[in-house]
């Protein structure tokens, strides 16, 4: 369990950035979207430490805006350095994802 959440934690930063890049979202929307994508073990609150970390690193930025449901919400945008970071992570992911899943699939069935 612990190792799984450690692994997820690393990937989650990139997932959050990817969702935010597609469209600026506020916290609640973001957690719904991640759950819809089908990531396991995402409780609603999981995203907030991630959002704080990404803001601290300057990868995303929050801004108050009126939401579709009415009240003002803090919407998150990807910054320029966030875009660059996301590109780098995506590239890295592309390089390791296929071999790693191939390897783990084989060792799992043996």
């Amino acid at each position: 369990m612990a190792s799984r959440s450690q692994l997820l934690k690393g990937v989650l930063d990139a997932c959050v950035m990817a969702v935010v890049e597609a469209e600026p979202v506020y916290g609640y929307e973001l957690s719904q979207k991640l759950q819809q994508i089908g990531l396991p073990d995402i409780s609603d609150g999981t995203i907030y430490p991630v959002l704080l970390r990404l803001q601290k690193n300057g990868f995303i930025k929050g801004e108050m805006r009126p939401s579709a449901s009415g009240p003002n919400r803090k919407y998150y945008f990807l910054t320029d350095s966030g875009k660059k970071e996301l590109e780098e992570i995506s590239e890295e992911w592309r390089q390791i994802a296929a071999p790693v899943s191939e390897l783990l699939k084989r060792s799992g069935t043996q």
Partner: protein
């Protein structure tokens, strides 16, 4: 940027819309984050507001606070705190100074008023040695500092418990208060008179106290910018 005070007020209003169960969890969470003095106040209030909005929206769909914060809300709060920006040194220092000035102000004001009341019955000694006065001030500052740290510790120890026992917290806080008072009384009696002697009338204490309180308020408003 939203001002911190504004956020706190909005939070107070919005919180009323939480149901009882969610409110209980959220308020523990709120106090836990707010009593952590290492983190930037504005950033903490922003994330507290985000979480409150989240809870309120989830509540409409029958989601509970436990689902949002996970099975261990304290661990979750610690994770959030870890990712919040630290309070700037300058504003921590100003905050500490404003608290000391405020404490000394209240003490001086009270002392002045007590002297007036006493002077109705008997002549009051107005001569005081500078050494005694300054030592006393240091002791008060020490008590104030230890008091605040201890008080927050007691508050935090009562949070995130399945069964609330607020009485234990009150008793501990009461004992701590009594202890602080005893130490202060002992200091007044035990610290010898030394250094140059000056004469301070009751109204000087009162005015000095008011000035210190005003200064405390002004400094504290600067610490929050």
């Amino acid at each position: 940027m939203r001002m911190t005070d504004e956020l706190i007020e909005q939070n107070n209003n919005k919180r009323e819309d939480l149901n009882e169960e969610n409110l209980a969890v959220y308020e523990d969470f709120l106090v836990y984050v707010r009593t952590d003095l290492r983190i930037d106040e504005h950033a903490s209030e922003e994330v507290l507001m985000d979480l409150l909005d989240h809870l309120l929206e989830g509540q409409q769909y029958g989601k509970s606070a436990a689902e949002v914060f996970g099975s261990n809300p304290k661990a979750y709060a610690d994770e959030l705190i870890e990712n919040l920006p630290r309070e700037k040194k300058r504003s921590s220092a100003l905050f500490a100074i404003s608290q000391v000035a405020g404490l000394a102000g209240w003490f001086s004001l009270t002392y002045g008023i007590v002297n007036v009341l006493l002077s109705l019955f008997k002549p009051v000694e107005t001569d005081v040695s500078l050494g005694h006065l300054l030592s006393l001030l240091v002791v008060i500052m020490g008590i104030g500092f230890v008091g605040v740290v201890l008080f927050f510790k007691i508050i935090r120890s009562t949070l995130f418990k399945a069964k609330k026992k607020p009485l234990g917290g009150y008793v501990k806080a009461g004992l701590a208060g009594a202890g602080a008072f005893a130490v202060m009384m002992l200091a007044i009696i035990l610290i010898p008179e030394f250094g140059p002697v000056i004469s301070i009338e009751w109204w000087m204490y009162t005015i000095g106290g008011l000035l210190l309180l005003a200064a405390s308020k002004i400094i504290s408003s600067f610490s929050r910018k």
